[in-house]
Each structure stands twice: as structure tokens, then as C-alpha cells.
């Protein structure tokens, strides 16, 4: 004989349904890419998106800092090239010895991590183009290579349009970030910037007590980009404040 449906029983059923639904959605979200995942992702994203593979399966071993170099014109109109400036070092200036640190210590680190992630999805031929300059001669001066031309050049070298667009979008963001930072840092009208992933790593576990450094990683240097940013004085002041608060210029 069936039990009558009373309110607590209905509530109990709804409760179980809610749990089962979330279990399904979350398991699909953390699973590898499948058509089902794409469908669930479109509904549950961005609110319930999650991934729990931090430090796994392969543990992070390399420290990657974001450094930039800038160019501007002096009074004679000649291009001046700056030294490399490590944004990550500046942003992490106050985090040492501080258990309750500002989230600023993650910004450039994660930006470079995400940028490198997109760079790694390019083919070898595309990577070579990405490491080259995105500036071309125009008459007596220079100009940025046009977007469509750049996209075509990269797509021709690898035929993976979505990876190319995704990389170039981040490249554009990095150009803006580096340009504003350089403007605040040098107080000049910045014309070009380039950046690099500055990489270091500790010895392997087996060689952890060795005095000699086991790895000497080369930096991943990208080519010059034309600074294409409308500079807002208030934003530059904010960046200057960040530099000042975190220990000043290097």
C-alpha cells in the first residue's frame, strides 16, 4: 500500500532531487570535455564552475614572473629603451612575512600564467610569430600590424583560429597592462612595450641539498608591441600609488 504524499515527504523528495541534480551538474563540470559538459557548462557557468586540480596532477615547479621593458622618445625624438622591470616583484613587495596579504600578490603572476597557457596552445610556427614583434614599418615611422593581418598570419601557421584569437586577446590585455604600468613607473609617454616570463625553479627533490643550482631556465621573451592605450591620469596615479606602497622603484 502506497504512503500518502504529505508535505514533509514532498519536501524530502525535493531535497533529494536538489542534491542529486547538483551532484550530476558538479560531476559533469569537473569531468573532461564532452558534449554533455559543454551543455551543462552553458547553463551552470559561471556561477558553479569549479576545478580542483590545483598543484595536481603535475606539481608546479617553476616560478614565473612578469617583467616588461618599455620604449619612449626623448627630447630629440630618439627612442629610449628601459631596463627590465619585474611587476611580480613589485606586486609581491609587501607579501613577504605577511599572513594576511593583499590579493595584489597574485595579479601579474596569474596574468602571465594565463598568457603562457594560451601561448602553449599555439603550434611551434605560431609561437615563433608570437615571440616576434607586432610592429611594422609605415613610411618613415612604425605602426602596429593590423588585427586581421595578424590573425591571418597566425592562422596560416597553424589552422587553429580559436586558439589564435584567444592568445591575441590576452596579448592585447598584456600590452595595456604593461603600458599603463610603464607610464606610471617611468613617467614617460610610452610608445612600445614588450614582456617576458622570467623563470626560475628549485632543484629536483633528489638534489634538494645540493649547493649548486641545477636549473638555469631561459626567459620566454615576447616581441615589441605598439602601445595602443588612451592614458587616463587617474589610472596612472593609481598604478604609481601601487608602486610606492609596495616598496617603490626597483
Amino acid at each position: 500500500m502506497k504512503r500518502p504524499l504529505n508535505k514533509p515527504r514532498i519536501m524530502g523528495m525535493l531535497s533529494a532531487l536538489a542534491v542529486v541534480t547538483y551532484v550530476f551538474v558538479s560531476l559533469v563540470l569537473v569531468s573532461p570535455n564532452t558534449p554533455v559538459r559543454a551543455a551543462v557548462f552553458s547553463v551552470a557557468s559561471p556561477y558553479y564552475t569549479q576545478k580542483w586540480n590545483v598543484f595536481a596532477p603535475s606539481i608546479m615547479k617553476v616560478n614565473t614572473d612578469f617583467s616588461f621593458q618599455a620604449q619612449w622618445r626623448d627630447a630629440n625624438g630618439s627612442l629610449v629603451k628601459s631596463e627590465w622591470v619585474n611587476i611580480t616583484d613589485i606586486e609581491q613587495g609587501n607579501s613577504l612575512g605577511n599572513w594576511a596579504t593583499s590579493r595584489i600578490h597574485k595579479q601579474s603572476l596569474n596574468a602571465m600564467g594565463a598568457y603562457q597557457g594560451r601561448y602553449n596552445k599555439l603550434t611551434a610556427a605560431q609561437k615563433k610569430i608570437a615571440r616576434d614583434t607586432f610592429i611594422e614599418r609605415s613610411g618613415n615611422g612604425f605602426q602596429p600590424i593590423g588585427n586581421s593581418e595578424l590573425i591571418q598570419k597566425l592562422v596560416d601557421a597553424g589552422n587553429n583560429r580559436s586558439s589564435v584569437i584567444s592568445f591575441l586577446r590576452y596579448d592585447y590585455m598584456m600590452m595595456r597592462y604593461a603600458t599603463i604600468f610603464a607610464t606610471a613607473y617611468f613617467g614617460e609617454d610610452i610608445e612600445r612595450v614588450r614582456w617576458k616570463a622570467e623563470r626560475t625553479r628549485a632543484n629536483d627533490f633528489e638534489h634538494r641539498f645540493d649547493a649548486e643550482q641545477q636549473f638555469k631556465l631561459s626567459d620566454l621573451v615576447f616581441g615589441w608591441r605598439q602601445s595602443n592605450v588612451t592614458i587616463d591620469g587617474a589610472v596612472v596615479n593609481e598604478y604609481a600609488g601601487v608602486i610606492e606602497r609596495n616598496g617603490g622603484k626597483q
Partner: protein, 376 residues
């Protein structure tokens, strides 16, 4: 009435009410047990109240140290992030909560969020504060994808469940106001009464979802670790302690990785206790062992790597596996041992001992009598 008694009477009455015990199948009895558990009482109220406090501390540890950099990270100086931010797909009203083109409104929202978290911490109007705080929390997070960590993700996901839970039954202004009101009902209780089956049903659904979420984090993370060479050979902790971004006090990290057995054991414990967490929950002693070990692991992550908001979020969720009856037992034990502890403490600092002949106050009897039923 205790939980066990409640379950017993509820199952008996269900069995006697519409069918006889002979035709009541095993599955049907299990459903009855589940319904009684899910709708009969508010579960884990002490753990939820503790979670409220720990979450608030974790969120304040995010908001206050970043206050000076708010414009750089999320405000008008972070517009370079827009090409990616706009692709994340948050509704426009969420994006407008912390506008990058209006410094006054942005700052007002930031302050409002801090105030809401403080109200959440003390447990004032928690039912109202929790969803509003969640909206502001998502609003801020939606302005940058670069400065969040796993803890922020856990806050975001679980707070959407927790808006249905009673987070302020203990250690809160709400509880204090309720106690002061006595039997008199508040305006909301008088005009919008929530039946037990509904209130408890929603509360316990939130409990199940939060418990599932933490299991998902552990098991998913454990599976990934099981696929990593460094995790299996026991060296993973050495590498994580050597990352510049996670060295709060480099000297401490250096000292820690030089103790090889500690590196090996901590690495393996973190894989296997995470992976086996759902199984270890099944027995009381393994449950407490795994909770203590995982608590230690999260304190270690906070201490050595500075990831306090993540650690606190995980600790708060771990605590949900401690039953109200266990908290009561612990409370009673502390109360029993308290006079002795007091004596020891007083003698340590040179004060005269408390005379043993002081009779207990009447309200202590009253509290002792009611404490076992309060949460059940």
C-alpha cells in the same frame, strides 16, 4: 526530544499510520528515515554557526588587506581586464554592482560588502544578510579573474546553498535577540511563519549540499594527485614549499622542506585522506581522525603558504561533519573540566585558588538540563 527518539517515533508513526510493518518494504523504511531526518529538525546548527564565523573571518582576510589596492585589482584601474571579463557571462546587474566607471559607487559597494560581512560575522539578521552579501561577493569577484583562489570559489558556491540554512542559531546577535524575546514572536515569525518541515528541509538540504561539495573537492583533488608522479613519490610538498608566490616566511618553508620524513608523510596523507574522505566518514573514529588530519593540513596550508581564505573555507566545511550532539558532549566536558582548568590557570599566574565549596548557580542546572535538547 533527542534525534534518536525523534527518528524512532517518526518511523513508528509512519509505519503505523498508513501501512503495517509487514508490508513496509526496506526501501520505504529508508525513505521514511530520510524524510524524518531531512524535515524533522535543524541539523548541525552549531557547526553551521561556527561556519558562519569562520567564513566571515576568511572573507574579511580577503577584503581588508586588499582595501588599499581595490581600484587596481577590481576598480577603475583594472579596465585592461575587460576583454576577458566581459566573456564570463555574469548577468549585467552583477557587473554593475562594482562599476569600474564610477568610483563613488564602487567604493560604496566595497564598504557595503565589508559591513555585510561584519553583520554576518556577528550573526545579525542573518537570513537577510546572507543573500545580499552573496550578491555583493559575486559582484566583486566578477570584476577580475586573476586574484581569486579555491577558497573564494568555495565561498561563492556554498553561500548559494547557505542562504537556505539557519546559520545563526548559536553565537550570534540573532540568537541573543531571540533569547531576550523569550516566547514572544518576532514580526517575521508572527506574519510569515515557516513550518518545521519546510525550514528544516531547506536547512538540511543546504547541509547535504555543503557536505557533498567538500567531498567533491577532496575526492576530485585526490584523484588528480594520484595521477601525479611527485605526489606518489612523496616529494610534492617540497616543490610547493619552494614556490616564491607561496612562501610567506621563506625561512620557515626552507626549514620545513628539509625535514624529509615530514615532507613524505604530509604529501601522502594529503593524497590518501582526501581520496578516502567519504569512506572515512562512515565510522566515528576514522571520521574524527580524518577531520583532525585535514584540519592540520589546512592550518599548514594557511601557515606556510598564506592561503588562509582557502584553508578557513575548508576547515569550516569540515566542521559540518561534527554533529550537534558531539559539540554538546565537548561543551559538557569543558564545563566539567573547567573548574579544574581554572584552578590550574589561577595557580599558574599566582592567584589564590577558587574555593571548592562554592555552590553552583541555579542557572547552571537549567542550562545543563536544556543543552542536550536545544539543537535537536
Amino acid at each position: 526530544m533527542t534525534v534518536k527518539k525523534y527518528l524512532a517515533t517518526s518511523i513508528n508513526s509512519a509505519a503505523q499510520g498508513s501501512s503495517t510493518s509487514s508490508d513496509s518494504s526496506w526501501a520505504s523504511r529508508q525513505i521514511d528515515r530520510f524524510v524524518a531526518w531531512a524535515t524533522g529538525a535543524y541539523r548541525a546548527t552549531r557547526s553551521f554557526s561556527l561556519l558562519r564565523i569562520i567564513y566571515a573571518v576568511g572573507m574579511l582576510l580577503f577584503l581588508i588587506p586588499s582595501y588599499g589596492d581595490r581600484a587596481y585589482l577590481w576598480g577603475f584601474a583594472s579596465t585592461w581586464l575587460e576583454p576577458e571579463i566581459k566573456r564570463r557571462g555574469y548577468p549585467f546587474f552583477i557587473e554593475k554592482m562594482f562599476p569600474k566607471d564610477n568610483t563613488f559607487v564602487f567604493d560604496l559597494s566595497y564598504w557595503s560588502l565589508i559591513v555585510l560581512v561584519l553583520l554576518f560575522l556577528v550573526g545579525y539578521k542573518t537570513r537577510f544578510v546572507t543573500p545580499v552579501m552573496l550578491l555583493f561577493w559575486i559582484g566583486l569577484q566578477s570584476n577580475s579573474m586573476l586574484v581569486t583562489n579555491g577558497g573564494d570559489t568555495i565561498f561563492r558556491i556554498t553561500l548559494s546553498f547557505l542562504i537556505f540554512a539557519n546559520l545563526s542559531k548559536h553565537w550570534s546577535v540573532d540568537a541573543w535577540l531571540q533569547k531576550r524575546r523569550g516566547h514572544r514572536k518576532s514580526y517575521t515569525q508572527k506574519h510569515f511563519p515557516v513550518p518545521l518541515w519546510l525550514g528544516a528541509g531547506l536547512h538540511n538540504t543546504a547541509l547535504m549540499l555543503c557536505c557533498y561539495q567538500i567531498m567533491l573537492v577532496y575526492v576530485n583533488s585526490g584523484i588528480f594527485k594520484l595521477m601525479g608522479k611527485e605526489w606518489l613519490e612523496g616529494s610534492a610538498l617540497y616543490y610547493s614549499l619552494n614556490l616564491d608566490a607561496f612562501q610567506v616566511v621563506p625561512l620557515l618553508s626552507e626549514l620545513a622542506w628539509q625535514i624529509t620524513p615530514a615532507v613524505l608523510v604530509a604529501t601522502w596523507v594529503s593524497i590518501y585522506f582526501q581520496l578516502l574522505f567519504p569512506v572515512l566518514l562512515l565510522w566515528k573514529y576514522t571520521r574524527y581522525l580524518s577531520l583532525v588530519l585535514l584540519l592540520g593540513m589546512h592550518v599548514g596550508i594557511g601557515f606556510f603558504m598564506g592561503l588562509w581564505s582557502f584553508s578557513l573555507a575548508m576547515i569550516a566545511l569540515d566542521m559540518l561533519f561534527v554533529r550537534d550532539s558531539s559539540w554538546e558532549k565537548a561543551g559538557n566536558w569543558v564545563r566539567r573540566t573547567n573548574p579544574k582548568a581554572k584552578q590550574i590557570l589561577r595557580s599558574e599566574i599566582g592567584l589564590p585558588p577558587v574555593p571548592r565549596s562554592i555552590p553552583p548557580r541555579p542557572e547552571q542546572f537549567a542550562n545543563a538540563g536544556s543543552s542536550s535538547t536545544a539543537s535537536e
